[in-house]
Amino acid sequence: MTATKARGPVIHVQGLEKSYKELRVLRGVDFDVARGSIFALLGSNGAGKTTVVKILSTLLKADAGTAGVNGFDVATQAAAVRESISLTGQFAAVDEILSGRENLALIARLRHLKNPGKIADDLLARFSLTDAGARKVSTYSGGMRRRLDIAMSLIGNPPVIFLDEPTTGLDPQARIEVWQAVKELAAQGTTVLLTTQYLDEAEQLADRIAILHEGRILVNGTLAELKQLLPPAKVEYVEKQPTLEDVFLTLVGDNGKNA
């Protein structure tokens, strides 16, 4: 089965509801994601971001509402949805005991692709992991693990990628590396839905941002649109101090491809 291209939004979510026993996590979530864009689902811990991602990646069934990915319904055409997506979960879902190369080759094999070894080598090079490719993943740093995790998600070129809190727990350098990887993905036409609790991450990466709060989408728009929701900017003169992040990155030197 091949993933067919559908017209209209590549992700379409309408009236999604989900409860865990008494707890109503999603209370009617609606949003669309345009093909080839980066869409950020912004919300605090427990807002229901991961639940949305799990429903879209066919790991969880919704109680009500519909969700479609790449033209396929997540409930009734789950197998076709799984052909169309890749999930990068909240914690780098990599095999610690295998090497980076073996992790990639395993995923290529499970996606039934030819030449898993070559696919693995290409991705190692693309994500600056070639030197570490033969090492056990348990020796990798947090940033390397996340890069490997994202590389694993790219195998088979799925048109839609879900990144659930891709930078939580990463140091600033690793975070910038991940951002870079996400931008490159979108530049190649992949649709990215990412969840984050960091405002600056949504600001940096996303074409559109939706704020999920208490199980509903509060607002959904471009950064400029969201900014217009508040009163117009006042002009103030502020002494621009370097942030601690600027200091840290300047002192540490590079933006750490080999972190």
Partner: protein
């Protein structure tokens, strides 16, 4: 997607087998405890246990083999639990694979690892003086019973592997299984036990399995023990499989 079942299972089996070859301690620790028990029972208690003329190592090896399996399957629960916890289980489930191959890979890995442990234990038993004049057919029958027993216990292990909240919880279930052979004919003849215990010992699965293996090793007629043993193994296998698949469906829906 079932057309990919064998390919996917093979790929995932290769992955888990690498886990074992890279941390062979799972096989060593599985084999060490039964070997230590065997040494203790043969050289410490064995002299005081009367099993009616047979060499004690010959007498108790079947029970030791079952203990080996019972302690080995705890690693299946552990590996499955780690897959759940690290999120790699979800990654596999969100991919276009035959989804059940994730479980089958763990089950087959358990089979391979336990067979290796069993071979190690039998080799040590041979060094300790275990002897059997059994022919190939009898050995194959023993292997068949042990494989069936391993599969039955492995599907039991899948249940805590999928549902446990903590790592301790995932492996604690195996303790009663390891203990069960002590309340059977594995180490002492059941006739020496007091009434209610004897009744339990004579009607629990381990006794019939031990008796069947013992009869095969000593070239005695296996009688009804073999059929009772097979019925127990198949029965446990089916029940555990049904419960494991129920737990599994609850996880992936």
């Amino acid at each position: 997607m079932t057309k990919h079942f064998f390919g996917d299972t093979t790929a995932l089996l290769g992955r888990s087998l690498r886990h074992i070859t890279r941390s062979p301690d799972t096989i060593i620790t599985t084999a060490v405890m039964p070997i230590a028990m065997m040494l203790m029972f043969v050289y410490v208690f064995g002299g005081a246990i009367n099993v009616g003329g047979a060499s004690y190592v010959n007498y108790m090896l079947p029970g030791i083999l079952l203990i080996t399996i019972a302690s080995g399957i705890a690693y299946t629960a552990f590996r499955l639990f780690m897959d759940m916890k690290t999120g790699i289980f979800e990654r596999f489930q969100s991919m276009p694979i035959a989804r059940s191959s994730v479980l089958w890979a763990h089950v087959l890995t358990s089979l391979v690892a336990n067979l290796v442990s069993l071979v190690v234990v039998v080799l040590v038993a041979l060094l300790m003086g275990f002897r059997s004049g059994a022919e190939l057919a009898a050995w194959l029958s023993v292997a068949g019973i042990l494989i069936l027993f391993t599969l039955a216990l492995t599907w039991i292990a899948v249940i805590p592997g999928l549902t446990a909240k903590t790592m301790e919880g995932a492996s604690a279930f195996s303790y009663p299984l390891i203990f069960l052979p002590f309340l059977s004919s594995a180490f002492v003849p059941t006739a020496t036990m007091p009434g209610p215990l004897r009744a339990f010992a004579e009607h629990q699965p381990v006794t019939s399995i031990v008796n069947a293996i013992r009869a095969l090793f000593t070239e005695q007629p296996v009688g009804t023990d073999l059929w009772i043993a097979l019925a127990w193994c198949v029965g446990i296998l089916i029940v555990a499989y049904v419960f494991a698949m129920t737990a599994y469906r609850r996880k992936i829906s």
